[in-house]
């Protein structure tokens, strides 16, 4: 695996040459500071660009073309990374060794043309595509409740700090949707191309020079980009005593979430020590929470803890019967306290390290995970695979006890099922 980076003022091209895959993966990222009121328009934009293009002006024509190119299906997504928001377009296609000569060039043309030559007339997005996209976004916002685990987490985060981007609802907001017009959408599109940080990734068995030149020819981004910084969310106020919030919802299973804000942790603590702490506490089937809350007390089917280092946030989540709320919270607190007191073994640490080490070492098995490593290196000066492995190894028992004692519970949240179970 070889890594090449070409920096231009307007964008960067990253090529990871490897013969491990039968496919070539390409990803185009637009990044800027997140604003709550821009979430909906960004979702809108990432969707409408895949509804049609100037050349293939309906969804049907666009998707027939992608099938003709051996299922060259473009995917888009918008995700929040700490204080920033990332819009990503990606495409995975068969290396032309398996299809026909010339397919790579044709597929790249199709990909970049779809993004940079949208279905726009007189400074406005095509009205039909606009209407269809509006329906898509409406459906997405309405489908928030389809996943109660996710929904209850959003509800807790809103309670913890409604002004912090971690509580922004990534599905979008109806009040912002109503304000979007064909014209403002196109203005936003132009502004995004002009001012967002742009990074392009390629993973596959490609001719590096050739594909780089091909991308330069097709990418129409040429404005100088500003510096960007402070990607992590910081929390100033930390609650000294936790609080409990119970809300009712008509559900069969009650959702217990516990949220902790993290403050004053170093980068390595966030990326390594806390991750190992988390693995021991609630990472998987050998964790303290799984063994004690599920296996010993049969209170739940799933229970996990999670660290989001970009957000300086830790949360624990489980599905329980509401009668077991107090007992579950007590058990979880007990396990967190045991971690503070250092009641875990060197073997627990070894198991946690092994899980992390395997996960890091096998990054090279997946094109999208390879891209993630290089993108996070680009964004936060993150570590490469070898550095990661070294730093995992270095974490000590004392390091883990130290971070455990710095973690404070902010909110204990229960989304409580209605009295009568079974609808």
């Amino acid at each position: 695996m070889e890594y090449f980076k070409k920096e231009f003022n307007a964008y960067n091209i990253h090529v990871i040459k490897t013969d491990r895959f039968k496919t070539v993966t390409i990803e185009l990222n637009f990044l800027r500071k997140i604003k709550k009121e821009e979430i909906t328009i960004r979702n809108f934009l990432s969707e409408i660009l895949l509804q049609s293009s100037k050349k293939y002006n309906t969804k049907r024509l666009l998707s027939l073309k992608s099938k003709e190119l051996y299922e060259a299906n473009i995917q888009s997504s918008t995700t929040r990374i700490g204080a920033y928001t990332n819009m990503s377009f990606s495409l995975q296609f068969l290396n032309e060794e398996y299809t026909q000569e010339g397919m790579q060039e044709e597929t790249l043309d199709f990909f970049f043309d779809t993004i940079f030559n949208p279905n726009v007339n007189n400074g406005e997005f095509d009205n039909h595509s606009f209407e269809v996209t509006k329906e898509v976004i409406t459906t997405e916002i309405k489908s928030m409740k389809d996943n109660m685990t996710k929904y209850s987490l959003i509800k807790m985060l809103e309670k913890m700090d409604p002004n912090c981007p971690f509580s922004y609802n990534g599905f979008g907001y109806f009040e912002d949707l109503d304000k979007i017009t064909n014209k403002t959408l196109y203005e936003y599109y132009q502004d995004m191309i002009k001012s967002d940080k742009v990074d392009i990734f390629v993973v596959g068995d490609v001719d590096v020079e050739k594909i780089t030149q091909s991308i330069i020819d097709k990418v129409k981004v040429n404005t100088l980009k500003k510096e960007f910084k402070d990607i992590r969310l910081e929390h100033n106020k930390i609650r000294s005593r936790s609080r409990k919030i119970v809300e009712e919802e008509k559900i069969n299973q009650s959702k217990l979430n516990i949220g902790c804000l993290l403050k004053d942790f170093s980068l390595d603590e966030l990326n390594y020590t806390l991750k190992i702490y988390n693995e021991i506490l609630g990472g998987g089937t050998e964790s303290k929470l799984f063994l004690n809350v599920r296996e010993k007390n049969s209170l739940c089917y799933y229970i996990r803890s999670n660290i989001n280092s970009y957000d300086n946030l830790m949360f624990i989540y489980a599905g329980i019967n509401k009668e077991d709320f107090d007992k579950s919270v007590k058990l979880i607190k007990r396990e967190m306290n045991n971690m503070k007191k250092g009641k875990f073994t060197l073997e627990d640490i070894e198991v946690a390290k092994k899980a992390m080490e395997v996960s890091v070492r096998t990054i090279t098995d997946s094109p999208s995970r390879i891209i993630n490593v290089y993108y996070s290196k680009e964004l936060t000066d993150g570590d490469d695979i070898d550095e990661k492995l070294k730093k995992i190894e270095k974490v000590s028992y004392d390091d883990i006890v130290r971070v455990a004692n710095k973690i404070k519970i902010d909110t204990i949240y229960l989304m409580c099922g209605a009295d009568k179970n079974e609808q």
Binding site: K22, T23, K59, R60, K67, N147, G284, K354, T362, E422
Partner: protein
């Protein structure tokens, strides 16, 4: 080369299939991939939730078992006596371990790049020697109750259960895979033992390996391990067979759930025994192709429904096999359920597909097929699926796809009876469809 380990070429790719049926009847399917680091191993019994009545080993009468027992047993196979528990064992080498139960099978698996020999031996050992006690069976009930309740809050799962229940009359495909909170509390150690002894015999099981390993080494590990164990001689397992009528149970049902976006599952129950074609595998490819061409994102139907705002999200297209019948489900999110259903009916009443459409979709199938070899998880799943449904792994899939043709397609279309349908709709409280 190990005795009788067969190496079989797979058309269209350089990858090879290694196959052997070992002495105790267990089958082993392997496709190595040296380009990646991970190994994915699955160990499957051809025993899933649809087994509702059967003759237990060494008995002579059919017994009926509580719903959800195959899934309950999956949980309990993880209990071990006098040795490390599976999660503990695998976590030491950073290996993931899991299991899942479907309508047709129960599969145990590990995933990871380390300790291949020990991991593989342990997979065979833990699945082939679980330790059930009255106490640990009781303990599991609270956990499974929560698993069932988690699914009750998922509207897509509600539709998956609802449409099967409303289309299948006799075939136990109709019941929820995990059973109900009520049925699982009826399960006890004695009945779990009977199921285990009957369905976890090696002749009813198979191993599938994908990823970075050496097939000769793997088959040796498996054979040495199995030669140390004694199994009863197995006669054919007798499972109750069901005569399934072509009709559905209920043509429509609407249920209310705490959601905001209405959804529906349009089910079409097809008796595939009435279709004249030389291979069932090919028939399944044709049927998937037909419904994807008719209802997929590139279809005229989807474009029309988009324009009328009946649909904005792509239609989910799924196939569920239940004995002699295939249930096709079209999963739609819509504010206009009854109008949309009328439009779906118009399409299936008058199917026409052009050869241009067929050729374009063939490219998409070829691409998906070749790509699956890069992903050891989906490749392993595909092999398991092939073995469960066709008792073998098809190494000539690419040729079957390339040879799909409009005449055969039209032949399939003309013999399809699409008149037995059922609609299961999930709506928010107080939902009214707009005129």
């Amino acid at each position: 080369m190990n005795n009788n380990l067969r190496q079989i070429s797979i058309n269209g790719v350089d990858d090879k299939l290694y196959y052997k049926k070992i002495d105790n009847g267990m089958e082993v399917f392997m496709i190595p991939n040296k380009n990646i680091l991970n190994i994915y191993a699955t160990f499957t019994t051809k025993y899933g939730s649809v087994v509702d009545e059967f003759v237990p080993i060494k008995e002579s009468k059919m017994i009926k078992v509580p719903k959800g027992i195959a899934h309950f047993l999956e949980h309990k196979v993880f209990e071990q006596e006098n040795r490390q528990q599976p999660f503990e064992f695998y976590s030491k080498s950073g290996t993931d371990c899991n299991a899942h139960t479907s309508l047709t099978n129960t599969t145990y698996e590990f995933f990871g790049p380390n300790n291949f020999q020990e991991n593989l031996e342990y997979l065979l050992d833990f699945v082939q020697n679980p330790y059930l006690t009255e106490k640990n069976v009781e303990k599991e009930k609270g956990i499974i109750e929560q698993e069932i309740k988690m699914y009750l809050d998922d509207p897509f799962w509600t539709m998956y259960d609802g449409i099967r229940n409303n289309t299948f009359i006799n075939n136990p495909t109709k019941y929820p895979i995990g059973g109900t909170v009520e049925s699982i509390y009826k399960i006890n150690k004695n009945i779990l033992d009977k199921c285990y002894k009957t369905f976890y015999h090696p002749s009813n099981m198979f191993v599938v390996l994908t990823g970075n390993f050496d097939p000769e080494e793997a088959i040796t590990i498996i054979e040495v391990n199995q030669s140390k164990k004694n199994f009863n001689k197995m006669r054919d397992i007798r499972i109750k067979e069901y005569k399934e009528p072509d009709e559905v149970v209920k043509k429509e049902e609407v249920v209310t759930r705490n959601i905001d976006m209405p959804k529906l599952s349009f089910g079409i129950k097809i008796n595939t025994k009435k279709i004249n074609i030389d291979s069932e595998y090919k028939l399944n490819i044709y049927i998937s192709l037909i419904f994807n061409i008719l209802f997929g994102v590139s279809s005229v139907f989807f474009e029309k429904m988009n324009n009328r705002k009946y649909l904005s999200m792509p239609v989910g297209i799924d196939k569920i096999r239940g004995g002699s019948h295939l249930l096709i489900t079209l999963i739609c999110e819509t504010n206009y359920p009854s109008k949309l259903v009328n439009e779906i009916r118009k399409v299936i009443e008058n199917i026409s597909i052009s050869s241009e459409d067929l050729e374009i979709y063939k490219r998409s199938l070829i691409s998906g097929y070749i790509r699956s070899f890069d992903d050891i998880t989906s490749l392993n799943d595909a092999i398991v699926d092939n073995v469960i449904n066709y008792n073998k792994y098809n190494t000539n899939t690419i040729d079957i796809i390339r040879n799909l043709n409009i005449n055969e397609l039209n032949n399939v279309i003309s013999s399809l009876d699409l008149s037995n349908t059922s609609v299961y709709t999930v709506v928010p409280p107080n939902f009214k469809e707009h005129a």
